[in-house]
């Protein structure tokens, strides 16, 4: 039986919603015959998640909670996944309903050969006025994937769905919610072998263009540009302003 490790902590009002949404994800997985290791509904410790992933090397990993650029959170103070244990995502499909984690952790996961990393590069925002629509959008990628679509197709379908949901919200007079939902769709990313991460950084883009994604992402940090400029300044050879 295929296994899913579903991590959905609950410890504040925002995570009460994300936990609720994770129940639908759990039901979808179980309908498709997955054995779901459900860790959530409370604060979750890093050890619990690491243990579940180590015991289930091929399991899909799903996280519903707060995220940051380099981490998935299990409580107000504890990261359950970050750059120090990202190797646990090796050859896994990773589905995130959290803020920001595709920005750095997702790229590291991709570099560590995660099969797929689904997540957001900015803050995931939602409103109480359109909870059903935000939930539908948040779970759509997983739903499409379980229907047998490729991750590439899932991403396109999720973005199409967001557009349709945003239009529905406009027609219902929920203008703030419609803009926020469309904004979430714009910052949704999925990294796979066929869809490597991209970058807005000029130097990173140059590296990617010259060396390709596998080598281009190995150059240190998105602060490469700053580093080079500071080195040139130190050498005093060129006045860079």
């Amino acid at each position: 039986m295929t296994v899913a490790v579903l991590v959905a902590p609950k410890f504040d009002s925002a995570t009460e919603y994300s936990y609720d949404w994770s129940r639908e994800a759990k039901a979808l997985l179980e309908q498709k015959g997955y054995e779901v290791i459900d860790i959530g509904g409370r604060r979750v410790a890093r050890d619990e998640v690491e243990e579940a992933l180590k015991e289930n090397p091929n399991a899909i990993y799903i996280h519903f909670n707060h995220g940051s650029e380099d981490a998935h959170w299990g409580s107000e103070a504890e990261k359950v996944m970050d750059l120090d244990n990202v190797d646990l995502l090796f050859q896994r499909e990773v589905y995130c309903m959290n803020c920001l984690s595709a920005k750095e952790l997702g790229i590291e996961a991709w570099k560590h050969k995660a099969t797929a990393y689904w997540g957001y590069v900015e803050v995931f925002t939602f409103t109480t006025e359109a909870l059903d629509e935000f939930q539908e959008f948040a779970n759509s990628g997983l739903k499409f994937r379980l229907e047998g679509k490729s991750w590439n197709e899932c991403l396109q379908l999720a973005k199409d769905l967001a557009k349709a949901l945003a239009q529905k919200l406009v027609e219902a007079g929920k203008y703030i919610a419609s803009v926020i939902l469309q904004g979430d769709a714009d910052v949704l990313r999925c990294y796979t072998e066929d869809m490597p991460p991209t970058s807005d950084c000029v130097f990173r883009r140059l590296c990617l263009k010259i060396f390709g994604p596998k080598i281009g992402w190995k150059f240190p940090s998105p602060r490469l540009e700053t580093l080079i400029i500071s080195q040139i300044r130190k050498m005093g050879k060129v006045n860079v302003n």
């Binding site: 925002a14 939602f126 409103t127 109480t128 239009q167 203008y175 703030i176 926020i180 469309q182 904004g183």
Partner: protein, 84 residues
């Protein structure tokens, strides 16, 4: 229509929406705002860095919808009291 005019219409329209919906809340990561609090930030010049980014992203999406979605544009102009 100039960018500044669009933002002015959007802000006016969204302020009207926020007034109609005092109980709705926006969750953005670990923070939450009432619609009224959020719309007040759209005009504010003194914002924390993370709030500024949130507002800029929101306005960017709203401007995009205003330019590309005729229903949204019409509704925003009506709410803002602009003749269409």
């Amino acid at each position: 229509m100039r960018n500044a005019e669009v933002v002015k219409i959007l802000t006016k329209a969204l302020r009207a929406e926020a007034t109609q919906k005092p109980n709705e809340i926006i969750y953005a990561g670990r923070e939450s705002f009432t619609y009224k609090e959020f719309v007040a930030m759209l005009n504010s010049k003194k914002l924390q860095k993370n709030h500024k980014k949130l507002v800029e992203s929101f306005l960017q999406s709203a401007r995009k919808m205003f330019n590309e979605n005729s229903t949204y544009r019409l509704k925003m102009m009506q709410l803002a009291g602009v003749e269409t």
